[in-house]
């Protein structure tokens, strides 16, 4: 029986705590008596028969949707959209759940005699997926069946001929999505809902849309009013997407939504039972066995010997043995509400009251550096965007409080994946770190740069405007926090971000006392595996 997440009060005999720190780890002591640690729940029991569950979900959908076989008929246009390489994190051990769902859908389509099928990686303004990544996501059989004829491809948000403008919401937000998806008789969207933010109407309205449409919710005002964007009912980002969902419905886009949830088995449950190299990362420190400790020490020593390049490669090659905890299919809202229950069951941890100082260890990966480099902008986005927003109710840290993160934050960028990030870092952040000012002064120039557009469409680059979204993602946290410190980061890069570098946790806590006074309360956010704080 997996144990739920919980809050530990740190006392004198609490062992040092694990902090992720890029391609490495730190063990840090927090002061006793005023510190606490929020631990994630252990992995929920996975479904035994995933294929059976998929089939059952397709045959008995939720909400007012007919079973999938009834929606399929010969001569129809069927489009299957699926989440891109940004999900799940880290990537899932084969077979990826997307491939299993897509095969089940296609098998029904084959039975119904559907000929015209397109599969689209719904990557919005993310980088195009490579063949290997697509094969991993949809499986070799599906790839080989559809890619050679051009029926399996990456969404292109900059191809004017392949976008359909469907009108505006009651608040004037323009809705523009993939023409193929809009003109299909049925759009099946296959989600992996790794966190509560994913899925719902956001899948289609964001994943298959264009800059023209995205800018209405990917902006500073919206994201500052998404408290948090992980809490769909209190997220302006989601409200906007839901309004767009209504426009899609009104325009006759028929969406059959499939959402899947995974458990927290990020580093290997079998490792918990005594094998595997990374199991200690999802154990509580006082439960580390001699073997875990030996493995950790050996890993630290080994990592220290690797070049940064090899260290990165080693980490990026990790494939998580997630178990699938649920599969929902049918009408978007009904599906998504059920999905949220499953996500919350795994992630939510009740926490009482806010804290003065929030600490978190940033791991080696975020949604935008799969097979890539976690550059400083992504460090900001992971910490102040994703982790900060993993709350329901109120932020874990009080307004004006201090956030301390551990990450090496190297001044390094992937030249192919993140070209506009380099310019953003060199030009925009050198000038200002204020999201509103950045948005007003620079966004248009980057969004419309022909060169970025070219790289996005033909190479594997994130769209020119993408680094701005990373910054907006952290806008709410930037406004909320009194100080941000990165322990162990490259001082130049950290300062460029507008944060303060510290060499040790002790220094960082000392620096925090300037902002929150002496003897502040401290909370450590022990993530990943993912947890979401339910703060009362």
């Amino acid at each position: 029986m997996p144990r739920p997440g919980f809050v530990l009060e740190v006392d004198g005999s609490t062992p040092p705590l694990l902090f992720h720190s890029g391609e490495g780890f730190r063990l840090e002591k927090l002061p006793a008596g005023r510190s606490r640690v929020v631990y994630p729940a252990e992995p929920l029991a996975p479904l035994d028969d995933v294929d059976g569950a998929i089939r059952a979900a397709l045959l008995a959908p939720l909400g007012d949707s007919a079973p999938l076989p009834d929606l399929l008929h010969p001569g129809m246009k069927l489009t299957i959209a699926f989440d891109d390489v940004s999900l799940p994190l880290p990537k899932m051990r084969r077979p990826d759940i997307r491939s299993r769902v897509i095969e089940a859908v296609l098998d029904l389509a084959a039975a119904a005699g559907v000929d015209d099928v397109h599969l689209i990686a719904a990557l919005a303004l993310h980088r195009r997926m490579t063949e290997d990544e697509l094969r991993h996501a949809v499986g070799d059989r599906v790839y080989d069946a559809f890619a050679p004829s051009g029926a399996l491809y990456n969404h292109d948000a900059e191809d004017p001929d392949q976008l359909a403008y469907l009108g505006t919401t009651d608040q004037g937000e323009e809705v523009e999505i993939s023409k193929r998806a809009a003109e299909s008789d049925l759009l099946v969207y296959v989600n992996i809902n790794i966190v509560a933010m994913d899925g719902g109407h956001k899948s289609t309205a964001t994943g298959l849309s264009s800059y023209r449409s995205l800018r209405h919710h990917h902006n500073v005002a919206t994201l500052e009013h998404s408290r948090s964007f992980m809490d769909r009912h209190r997220s302006e980002l989601h409200h906007s997407n839901w309004r767009m969902g209504d426009v899609l419905k009104a325009a006759g886009v028929k969406v059959f939504q499939i959402e899947t949830t995974l458990n927290n088995d990020t580093f290997g449950l079998e490792a918990l039972r005594g094998g595997g190299p990374l199991g200690m990362l999802q154990k509580r420190e006082w439960e580390w066995t001699a073997r875990d400790r030996a493995a950790f020490v050996a890993m630290q020593a080994g990592l220290g010997r690797l070049s940064p390049k090899n260290r990165r490669r080693t980490f990026q090659s990790w494939e998580a043995p997630y178990g699938v905890t649920s599969v929902q299919a049918g009408e978007v809202d009904a599906v998504h509400e059920r999905t949220l229950e499953h996500v919350h069951a795994q992630h939510l941890v009740p926490v009482e009251g806010q804290t003065d100082v929030l600490t978190m260890g940033l791991p080696y990966i975020c949604p935008y550096n799969v097979h890539s480099i976690m550059n400083p902008i992504l460090v900001m986005c992971l910490g102040l965007g994703y982790f900060f927003n993993l709350y329901r109710g109120r932020p874990l840290v009080r307004e004006g409080g201090v956030l301390i993160m551990t990450h090496p934050t190297p001044w390094e960028f992937h030249p192919v994946h993140h070209p506009s990030y380099i310019d953003f870092f060199e030009q925009v952040l050198a000038d200002t770190t204020d999201p509103t000012e950045i948005e007003a002064r620079y966004e248009k120039q980057f969004a419309e740069d022909e060169w970025y557009r070219h790289l996005y469409r033909t190479s594997h680059a994130y769209h020119g405007v993408h680094p701005f979204y990373m910054w907006y993602w952290g806008a709410h946290a930037l406004r909320h926090l009194g100080q941000v410190t990165i322990v162990g980061g490259d001082p130049r890069a950290v300062r460029r971000l507008g944060f303060r570098p510290a060499t040790s946790m002790a220094d960082a806590l000392e620096m925090a006392s300037d902002v929150v006074g002496r003897e502040p309360t401290i909370t450590h956010f022990h993530n990943p595996p993912i947890l979401m704080a339910d703060v009362t």
Binding site: I422, D423, E426, Q427, Q445, D449, E450, W451, H454
Partner: protein
């Protein structure tokens, strides 16, 4: 007289420069007067000479032993102060009639710099007959003197000569939309100031490269729209011009690149970020370099030199120095007997938070 003298035949390791008591130079003819330096700057070309990095090209147009120092403000016997126009052109050399270039006023292009009644020497400070600024006394031809107004400090006045170079460069650049200035040492910073002073008749965007924080600060202060690290220039130019990339080469680029560094790397970088049909202006003294000229050929770009100034540039520079208060760029002064420290400081100016280093000769013994 005390003077730092460059003596040939010494190894570059110990340096050909030494401090010595020598006889003051005698005026070589009519129209020559004595100038007693008050401040004398250390220029990049001086450092190259001291380090033995200068091109062999200079051999016929300098004469040894010489006293360096061509950025000079000094006292005249009549009690006034003057800055030196160090170019030793036809007028100073007693060449009559003047060469074609001097006849038009382009004294920097004088065709007789090794002839006439003086020893060879393109400028005061490289000529055996005239003495130089790093001393207590030199001789100058009347045509070489520009009076310093009373309100102008010595520090400002010593900046006039390098500023004249920058003014000249700005004139070469002309009125264009986009200019990149490579290097933010004295010359780079002054070029930025000159481009912004309107002497360049309205330049649109100026992007500069700078290695050191002090250079960044000054570059922004003097009017650069954006200051970047040298490695960031290509991206900055690309973003500013919306151009595309082909390997290291931008498809578009800036109209003019002013190279105030003069190294092989900076010239190559200039060629990679200059627009097709544009010009790379070499203001910093280049040396012997290997360059791939294919992009120059294919993109019809030009590389052109830009040396010194004429009298008009000097007049304009005097105004600019006063208007922009460029005396602030003099970061430190040294007495002559601490010349090794001075030279070292000048060679590492950016790292050590400095721009212009000068010798202060106002307190030297007069003998």
């Amino acid at each position: 007289m005390v003077a730092s003298r460059v003596v040939p035949g010494r190894g570059a390791s110990v340096g050909p420069l030494r401090l010595a008591d020598v006889d003051p130079p005698e005026p070589p003819g009519d129209g020559w007067v004595r100038l007693r330096p008050r401040l004398a700057g250390i220029c990049g070309s001086d450092l190259a000479t001291i380090d033995g990095r200068s091109s062999r090209y200079f051999e016929p147009i300098v004469s040894f032993p010489f006293t360096p120092g061509h950025e000079v403000v000094g006292d005249l016997d009549d009690g006034g102060r003057a800055v030196l126009v160090p170019v030793l052109a036809c007028a100073a050399r007693g060449v009559e009639p003047p060469c074609r270039q001097c006849a038009t006023g382009a004294i920097n292009r004088c065709e007789r710099v090794a002839f006439g009644h003086l020893e060879p020497g393109l400028q005061t400070g490289f000529c055996a007959d005239t003495g130089g600024g790093w001393s207590t006394s030199l001789v100058a031809h009347e045509s070489q003197l520009v009076a310093v107004p009373d309100g102008l400090s010595d520090e400002a006045a010593v900046m006039v000569e390098p500023t004249a170079c920058a003014v000249h460069a700005a004139g070469v650049v002309g009125a264009v939309d986009t200019v990149a200035v490579l290097g933010a040492g004295t010359l780079g910073l002054l070029t930025i100031a000159a481009l912004r002073a309107g002497t360049g008749a309205g330049v649109g965007t100026v992007v500069a490269t700078a290695k050191h924080p002090v250079q960044r600060r000054w570059a922004v202060e003097l009017g650069a729209d954006r200051v970047v690290a040298p490695g960031e220039l290509a991206r900055a130019v690309r973003a500013a011009t919306g151009s595309w990339r082909l390997g290291a080469q931008l498809t578009g680029g800036f109209d003019v690149v002013v190279d105030c560094v003069g190294s092989a790397e900076s010239i190559a970088q200039g060629l990679s970020v200059v627009a097709p049909g544009g010009t790379v202006v070499l203001v910093g003294m280049p040396g012997h370099t290997a360059l791939d000229l294919t992009p120059l050929w294919h993109r019809e770009t030009s590389v052109r030199g830009c040396y010194a100034y004429d009298r008009a540039d000097f007049e304009a520079a005097l105004d600019l120095v006063a208007a922009a208060d460029l005396g602030r760029l003099v970061s430190a002064t040294y007495p002559l007997d601490r010349y090794p420290e001075a030279v070292e400081h000048a060679a590492a100016a950016g790292q050590r938070d400095a721009v212009k280093i000068a010798f202060d000769l106002r307190g030297e013994r007069r003998r």
